[in-house]
Symmetry: C2
DNA sequence: AGGTGTGAACACTTTCACAGCA
DNA sequence: TGCTGTGAAAGTGTTCACACCT
C-alpha cells in the first residue's frame, strides 16, 4: 500500500469524529464540502485524503455517513480492540485512565503500573495498580500491544526499553523526552509544554508583527 | 517578520528542552549535529530553523548553550510570564494543574473554574475553584491571556465564546471538538484520541504492509 | 445540476552542498 | 580544520480545475 502522510491520518480521525456526530443528529448523507466545514479543512482535502484508500462517495450525492464511518474504522484499524497498558499512575495517568474517548474507540486500558508503593495495590475501577516488577511478565502474558507512558521524564527511557523488550509495538508518550525506539515501533508524543510554547510564540510574535496562525485545525 | 511554520516553532521548543538538559550536564557548547541527534532531527534542519531568527552560532565551534537558551526564550516569548486560567476542574484539569513543566516555562495557572457545585470552593494549592458565573469578570480583571479548556466536548464551544469575549488571546483546547474561533486568536488542540488512532493506523497498516512511521520526532 | 475523483499546478518544508568565517 | 549560515535542489503536502458519473 501507498505511504500515507501523518496529517492525512490525523484528518481521518477527525472525519470519523464528525461523522459520528452527524450520525447522531441524525444525518444520513454528507458532502465533502460539509464535512470539510465541520472539520476545518477544505472539500478538496477531504476528497484527496479519502481517495488514497478507495472510492467511498456517490457523484452528485456525497458520502453515506454510516458507510464512511465503517470504512474509516476499517482503515484506522479500529474494528478490533487494542490491548493497552498504562505505565505511571500519577495525575496524568489518572486522567488518561478515565478518558472516555479511549474506550469509545476501542482502546481498553487493561493494566496499570507504577513504582510508588503507595499507589501499588490501589484499586482503579476493576483494576489493581501493579508494581513495575510485574511489568514485563504482565505485558507479555496479556498480549499488550500499546503502552501509554505517563511517568516522569527521567524514567521514561528505561520504561520504554522494558516495554519494547516485552513485545509492545506502539507507544503513546506523555513524558517530555525524545525517546529512543527501534524503527519498527510506532511512537506518538503528546507534549503539552510544547503546545503552550507554541501559543506563547504566536502571542508574542503577533505583538511584534509576526504571525503563525497556531493550529486552526480541529482537535 | 517572516512567517514561521508551525513545525519550526515546535522544534524550537524541543531545542530549548535539550539545551536545558545540556546546561545541567553541564555542557557549555553544542554543535548543530549534537543538538539534532538529541532532538531527533538533522543538523541542517537545526541550522535552518535558527537561521530564520538570526545568527547564533560560531563557525568552527558551535552554539553557546546559555546564549542559545536565552535566544530561544526570547524568540518563544518565554521571558515574560503569561497569565493562564484553567476552565474545567475534572481529571484532565487536575493533571494539567499539577503539571510541572508549565510552571517551569513561565505558564502560571492563576485561576480555575468549573460548573460543578461539588468542585466550586475546593482548594487547589493556593487557589479556590470558582464557579463559571465569575468567569468573564475574573479573566478580565486578572488580565488572563491564555485559557486552557478541559471541559466536556459539549461545553467547549460555549466556554470558548465566553473567554474570547473576555479578551483571551490564546486557547489550549483538550476537548475533542473543532472550536470555532476568530482568526486573530491563537488556538492549539491536544487530541489524545486522535494520537491513539494514529497508533492504531500505524500498527494495523504495518500488519498489512503499509507504513506511516508515526511520530519519530521528540515530544 | 450537483458533487465526486484525480492529474497537474502550486506552495511549503526539508535536505543538500558548499562558501566563508573562527 | 571544523562547523555555521544559506541559496538551490529535492521532496511533500495542498489546492485547483475539470472530466465524469448519478
Amino acid at each position: 500500500m501507498k505511504r500515507i502522510s501523518e496529517p492525512t491520518v490525523g484528518r481521518l480521525s477527525m472525519y470519523l469524529r464528525v461523522l459520528r456526530q452527524l450520525e447522531r443528529e441524525p444525518v444520513s448523507t454528507v458532502s465533502s464540502e460539509e464535512l470539510a466545514r465541520r472539520v476545518g479543512t477544505t472539500a478538496a482535502q477531504v476528497r484527496k485524503d479519502l481517495s488514497f484508500f478507495g472510492t467511498f462517495g456517490t457523484r452528485g450525492r456525497g458520502y453515506d455517513v454510516a458507510d464512511l464511518i465503517a470504512a474509516l474504522r476499517r482503515i484506522l484499524g479500529l474494528e478490533r480492540s487494542w490491548g493497552v497498558a498504562l505505565v505511571g499512575a500519577g495525575k496524568i495517568g489518572a486522567a488518561l485512565f478515565g478518558y472516555r474517548d479511549f474506550e469509545r474507540q476501542g482502546f481498553h486500558i487493561q493494566s496499570v503500573f507504577d513504582i510508588d508503593p503507595h499507589k501499588i495495590g490501589q484499586h482503579w475501577g476493576e483494576l489493581r495498580v501493579r508494581g513495575d516488577d510485574e511489568l514485563e511478565d504482565a505485558l507479555l502474558s496479556e498480549g499488550i500491544e500499546i503502552v501509554i507512558i505517563a511517568v516522569p521524564a527521567e524514567a521514561a527511557q528505561a520504561v520504554t526499553d522494558r516495554v519494547v523488550r516485552a513485545g509492545v509495538r506502539g507507544i503513546l508518550n506523555f513524558a517530555p523526552v525524545n525517546l529512543e525506539v527501534p524503527d519498527w515501533l510506532a511512537l506518538k508524543n503528546v507534549n503539552m509544554a510544547m503546545e503552550m510554547e507554541g501559543l506563547s510564540y504566536a502571542l508574542a510574535s503577533r505583538g511584534r508583527g509576526g504571525r503563525t496562525g497556531a493550529d486552526k485545525r480541529s482537535a
